[in-house]
């Protein structure tokens, strides 16, 4: 009836019914709080009333030494953490995937399952487990180093300002290496047989085959891995919290933006928690992650040549 009168299709209620639960939960619990957090970063609590202060919180965070020392420290640590993850985790992950994808490899699924296992463990297990292993009290690490004649290298790494961050970053690498490995492995499997056969006919084999043919084909996947690592690292909190505590010791040397956000929001020791400064830190993290994702989507992803397979 409607259709004849107005010349339009009737309103399709079922579309709304299908979409409504997901969009409302998502909007209410994710998008609204994110927007609200961005808004809170522009306000401040003064004498029990909330006052709009513009960008003053950001100015404090960047330049007032009460906040800025901790902030810049956490930011640089976070960048370093990301660089270590990129440089160690992804090349090793790619190498393992390349080895795993060799045809007719025996025990492939065992290796794959075993190497992926740490990725599934919770940070509590990973963090405390490594803390125990690296502890000079237990002495597992020096014993093991002694086996290979490198005992002199041992130091209580987690307790030394100079090494703690690198150590924690390497533990993070250990935990997450399964992800690049499995994604690259999947990408390598999807390269058609004929392509490799053609390469062999042209005399391109072994390592040259990997560098010249396979690597360009898996570049998009390497791009995805990089952005996943970026988002994960600039959002990291749990591993530091379990290994080094909320104070990210020794002397804040393992402090990342995530732990800084936690301390700013909830307070610690003598400092009281401050929701508005917490929101400010979260906003900065949001902007960092957003610009990383935008850079990936609009610049890197478009430059990468995709080959039709």
């Amino acid at each position: 009836m409607d259709r004849q009168e107005s010349g339009r299709k009737p309103f399709r209620w079922h579309i709304l019914v299908f979409l409504l639960p997901a969009t409302s939960v998502y909007t209410l619990v994710m998008i609204y709080p994110l927007a609200e957090t961005l808004r809170l970063s522009l306000f401040r609590e003064v004498d029990n009333s909330t006052v709009f202060v513009g960008l003053a919180n950001f100015a404090d965070l960047f330049f007032d030494s009460r906040w800025s020392d901790q902030f810049w420290n956490a930011l640089w640590n976070n960048i370093y953490f990301f660089i270590v993850n990129m440089l160690v985790q992804n090349p090793i992950g790619i190498a393992l995937a390349a080895l795993l994808s060799i045809p007719r490899l025996r025990g492939r699924s065992f290796y794959r399952t075993a190497i992926f296992l740490p990725t599934l463990l919770s940070f509590v297990i990973v963090g405390f487990g490594w803390k125990l292993i690296l502890s000079p009290l237990w002495g597992v690490a020096p014993t093991l180093l002694d086996f290979v004649g490198l005992k002199f290298l041992f130091a209580p790494w987690l307790g030394k300002e100079a090494y703690a961050l690198t150590t924690v970053a390497l533990v993070s690498v250990w935990q997450f290496i399964g992800l690049p490995m499995i994604l690259i492995y999947a990408a390598l499997l999807s390269i058609p047989e004929e392509l490799m056969e053609a390469a062999e006919c042209d005399g391109v084999t072994g390592a040259a085959q990997f560098w010249k043919i396979k690597l360009p084909l898996i570049l998009p996947t390497i791009g995805i891995i990089s952005i996943l690592t970026f988002v994960g690292n600039f959002n990291a909190f749990d591993l530091i919290y379990t290994m080094q505590g909320a104070l990210a010791g020794p002397n804040f040397s393992t402090d990342l933006l995530g732990t800084l956000l936690y301390r700013t929001f909830f307070g610690h020791q003598l400092q009281l928690g401050d929701p508005n400064m917490g929101a400010t830190v979260a906003t900065v993290m949001f902007l960092i992650i957003l610009s990383g994702v935008a850079l990936y989507l609009f610049v890197i992803q478009r430059r990468i040549t995709r080959y039709q397979m």
Binding site: T23, V29, Y32, R106, S122, L261, A282, I289
Partner: protein, 279 residues
């Protein structure tokens, strides 16, 4: 002859490298597990040896079971994970069906809006989430966690499921329409069974971060009644830091459920990732 000899060395080398990395990946887990069954003295004297009749001890497990309500924590984790998973799969599949099946104004825009959450971590909204949960009086309830995890899981679930639903042939659905089936029945009877494998993949991806999360239990539900196993283990270990038997036992107990799930689902998980990328 020479060729086969060379390929033998080559394959030995490959196994050596992969084997070495497998040892690196498994060693910490095995070390924790074997030492959790030893006496304190044996843990320190010979950490690398297996427990024998002399060094075998369950004292760590006794402490854990006496001190913490680990069974309660475990039930909390299970409830939160399963209920969130149910909502993510149900709401996610419904939204994915709407986005992949119908053309309507705002379709692409809705898809993009829902995809935002794949890249932006929900953690950044914590300040406002805590305020909202406090206003709704949901702090220290499992519902606060379920709501957050449902919202967190939906974007990726919708993205993956709508990719899969696009591949289902229109003929089947149109045949259903000619038979007079409503859109709801088509979704429930025809489409859902066909995307079951994809749902299993989404389930595994959704489950792991929920089970392992420490941040939201710490902030939204730190009460004794609502602690999840991850938070419970964290707090317990923090208190018993010098009791190595107890710490190692708690860690081993925390590993077991993940290990069991992984053994059951590892094929599904890896097949899921592989098939997703093959497309």
């Amino acid at each position: 002859m020479r060729l086969s000899h060379r390929s033998l060395t080559r394959s030995a080398l490959i196994h050596l490298i992969l084997g070495a990395y497998t040892v690196i990946a498994l060693f910490p887990v095995i070390l924790i597990a074997i030492n959790s069954f030893k006496t304190r003295k044996a843990i320190f004297r010979s950490p690398l040896s297996l427990p024998d009749t002399e060094s075998f001890s369950l004292i760590g497990y006794e402490t854990v079971l006496k001190q913490g309500d680990f069974f309660g924590y475990f039930l909390n984790s299970l409830t939160v994970t399963l209920v969130s998973l149910f909502f993510v799969l149900l709401f996610g599949a419904m939204a994915a069906f709407a986005l992949s099946e119908y053309r309507f104004r705002g379709n692409t825009l809705t898809g993009l809006y829902l995809a935002l959450g794949i890249m932006i971590p929900i953690r950044l909204g914590t300040v406002a989430i805590l305020q909202m949960m406090a206003d709704l009086q949901l702090v220290n309830t499992l519902w606060s966690l379920i709501l957050v995890y449902t919202a967190q899981g939906l974007p990726l679930a919708i993205f993956i499921l709508s990719e899969f639903m696009r591949q289902i042939s229109d003929d089947l659905k149109n045949a259903g329409r000619i038979d007079g089936l409503s859109e709801y029945v088509i979704f429930y009877r025809l489409v859902l069974p066909l995307v079951c494998p994809a749902m299993a993949t989404v389930a595994v991806f959704t489950m792991i971060p929920i089970w392992n999360d420490l941040w939201f239990p710490l902030i939204l539900a730190p009460g004794e009644e609502t602690k999840t196993i991850t938070l419970g283990a964290q707090v317990f270990i923090g208190q018993f830091v010098t009791n190595w038997n107890a710490v190692l036992a708690a860690l081993t107990l925390a590993i077991v459920p993940v290990l069991v799930l992984y053994v059951i689902f590892s094929r599904q998980l890896i097949a899921g990732i592989t098939s997703g990328a093959v497309k």
